[in-house]
Symmetry: C2
Subunit: 377 residues, 2 copies
Amino acid sequence: MPHETQRAQTHDLLRKRGLARALFANAASVKWLTGFNPPLQTGPNIFLGGPPLVWYENGAWNLVLFDGQISNAGDFDAAPNCQIVAYEGYAIDHPLRGAAQLRQTLRRVIGESTNGKIGIELRDAPADIALALDESARVELVAVDDWLAPLRRIKTPEELRKMRDNFRLTDIGHAAARAAVKPGAREIQVWNAARAAIEQAARQSVPMGNDCVVGYRQNNIGGAPLDYEIRAGDSVIVDLSTLAHGYWSDSCATYYAGEPSAKQRALHATLERALAFGLDLLKPGAVAREIDAQMREFMRRAGYAVYPHHTGHSLGVTGHEDPRLVPYNTMTLQENMVIMLEPGIYFSGETSGRLEDAALITRDGAEILTHHDKALP
Amino acid sequence: MPHETQRAQTHDLLRKRGLARALFANAASVKWLTGFNPPLQTGPNIFLGGPPLVWYENGAWNLVLFDGQISNAGDFDAAPNCQIVAYEGYAIDHPLRGAAQLRQTLRRVIGESTNGKIGIELRDAPADIALALDESARVELVAVDDWLAPLRRIKTPEELRKMRDNFRLTDIGHAAARAAVKPGAREIQVWNAARAAIEQAARQSVPMGNDCVVGYRQNNIGGAPLDYEIRAGDSVIVDLSTLAHGYWSDSCATYYAGEPSAKQRALHATLERALAFGLDLLKPGAVAREIDAQMREFMRRAGYAVYPHHTGHSLGVTGHEDPRLVPYNTMTLQENMVIMLEPGIYFSGETSGRLEDAALITRDGAEILTHHDKALP
């Protein structure tokens, strides 16, 4: 059953906090609770009446969707304790009324006699829906924003299957990007090459994010691919995130057009050592900010300016989650977390490099999930 | 100044309805009011504290964004009466607090002494923000959802420049798709070919939606491209929408792998005649449902089952807007509307076709905005 563990954990949490009912409206929460993964590359569907919502009541779950989303739900299947409740989105014989249909449907699902506490993700819930619930003197709304985030940190075997399959896609994309980086090519062409390889492997269109930047850009840390031409001797950072089965991957490598310079070789070798050093630090009990501090110290000792970004982060139904490997964070790593590590070196307007791997925290260390070729040519 | 007309019209509307303050939270409204066009291919930015919001007060406009969005704002520029108010999204020296930052920033922008009526897009506003406003006994919230939709129907010269540039992209994509349809190719490869051509022309990644379906699919009306192999004699519907400068385009053609059959030739010729017939009906004063009825009658007389979808629709900051050309709609066309026409013929699991053009309604007729080759091979 898809995402049964997630719902069981949430059921326990809500019960412990004295909530028999809750409305989840955050996109990450809805995805994590149900496994439902709506298409997102063109923004919210135009026939939507509002975001997908999950209504929880005493152990039973309802996923409220517009009818046109059901066929687009991909690998989502209903589970015995999680039913899909559909409302009409598209029609040609009367004006579009998805918004009204969603609200009527939700009222029916929630029931008229509701009283007592209702948990609600207030930052993402449509205001009119919350105001209507709040109107009743017998209802007390309890904000549950961020309640699921701690549960999301430890990945289930089902999630890890999805994520491994997704990291396979980024590996494929990297191989195509590496081959596409050559003098005369444009950043956007490198990006298209990676995308075509990924989508052919996935047999469908795949949301793809992050960076493809040539070293001579002023901001050569990150950014979407543009029309910059890659010249002989240029470095190109390719940082690929893909979304598959509702989960994000992440991965970075640096490629070179032709022969890397001595400076680039030294920089790249340092990044390889930094990444290996960092991966060795990943194990249950390791403290996020200590890993971060050791990585920054490694860069300083190697004689480079320390990167201005995080050392790493977790990910899942979103692309950047706790534990973040950053200076303040006292969280400890635990088995079945997935952690990204991404040291970088940047000479603005000249050349830059970053290497990034994903690691699954195991019982006594870490297993690398990314297998893209990050070696110098 | 970008989108000055849109803000002036909205200012007039709000004043007429007695509203001196309003909060816009709908993505289409924010884009239309400001010209700000956030990236959307990978979903909402992970460092966002909530959707971009526009606060209006007595003719002054504030666009509330997180700081990481400013550099991603593309062709957006601030205008004298519309200032950008940024809050912190990403940080490494303390926990991410975009949500709290957004709410503090908004409170500061709105001011503490607010009383009286506040217009608010209640379906899209974050519930906690609306509840906080509603808490004050001196504030009356007035739902303004959909108020801007009628204003959005008539395109300004600035919008038409953006849209023309975008239709140019879909033309380029269609030429590449036409060349890519051949026996042995996969739907997703046709899609990638169109995308690569579009993105190279646009010099950046471009959100791209809709359909790429081979005729032998059961649902051969529409759907995202998959791994279906195109065989000799197959038809492929390619319906391309792209987003550029915040505006959607749309366009459809049907291509054939090798020589079309007699049935496909007859079908295609009928669609060409239907499209030409429909384009002739487009002029100021024409009634949406009458155009729809005449197009359906045309299909019946030609001996084909009438397509189960709309005959056409408008578009703009979203991909499907009123006036919709559908059986119930009594709206009349007006100068400077942009109208899509898209007759189709579908033999499920066998072959199908659809042709679609965009037309700008002119003083006494229509100007076709799409110039992709829709002819039989």
